[in-house]
Symmetry: C2
Subunit: 207 residues, 2 copies
Amino acid sequence: MDFIKKPQDIEKRSFEIITEELGKTYDDRFVDAIIKRVIHTTADFEYAEIIEIHPDVVKNIINAIKSGCKIYGDTQMVMSGINKRRLAKYGVEVCNFVHDEDVVKEAKELGVTRSMVSIKKACKDENVKIFAIGNAPTAIFALKKLIDEGYAKPNAIIGVPVGFVGAAESKELVKELGVPYIITRGRKGGSPVAATIINAILYQMDE
Amino acid sequence: MDFIKKPQDIEKRSFEIITEELGKTYDDRFVDAIIKRVIHTTADFEYAEIIEIHPDVVKNIINAIKSGCKIYGDTQMVMSGINKRRLAKYGVEVCNFVHDEDVVKEAKELGVTRSMVSIKKACKDENVKIFAIGNAPTAIFALKKLIDEGYAKPNAIIGVPVGFVGAAESKELVKELGVPYIITRGRKGGSPVAATIINAILYQMDE
């Protein structure tokens, strides 16, 4: 059977196809990398239209990573998707508490999502400077409340929940928090998109 | 702030919206669940057009799960996404070897993807009856070779790699292996799609 076997060749050719079909290269190499890597992950060119990248967000994420921050990921899938070997070079960890016993218990008692309670727990750690929310709109609603009340001051929010109830609204909300952001307008997004955005920035940092 | 906080309400309303916009309910409740849950995961209605479900695949997956089989997932993301608490009820485990030392070493020596070597390792375990491939076309090419040579006899293949190089071709190949399958035609798919398909079946089993 004749097929490309080397991972680096497959990736290189994929990005050539994406650039060709998209018909453009963005001036900022980080923006270019973020948009094309999300298309690479989803095979969905609509992302080029719906990703919004705040002008300060890449700088803030790079600085936070270089300072050895923690990144909050709202699902196991976000955590699995982020390249932790690359992060380890900077002493950066990805954290999440949705499976913690106290979080599960509190969520059940209050009848709210575990992600809401988990994000509250994350805000207690000042070193959590980046929030990568790929799944739960409620995590963003909770984050807004914590920011409004002065409990959270993240350097950057990657807000890309996917879904039909609250997802689109939650992402519009991210833009009003006074924190540099990357979002995907509308329903689309997801944990792999959130992880991919972090990875795109990480790989460019190493170039 | 006024938003739906209860996870079960969010999910219920999401599926109502999906059914409404899709404009249909499929006769087979497993097919209905698979297609709608994939749309739920991706917010992408195109999946209703590109998912192909072999007539025997749901039965085979249910029987394999009830027999306490192992499920091979080709990425950490597939493994994270599958509801392992539900699987545990049947004594089912999800396995994957891409991070195993021997696999990393062999892949590097041969200049091939780790997923190819990992799947070869999975085929040595007869209890691995379901393959859920969400990322790597090369995993499917490797699986084909192992099936052709008589080393693998899976009960079902979920073949939904995403991507621009080899993904579409790999999924057409799945249909020719003589094994009941679920695929997504073309470029789209991914690890969350693979995990979602397993979950959709699991949740229907419990209904």
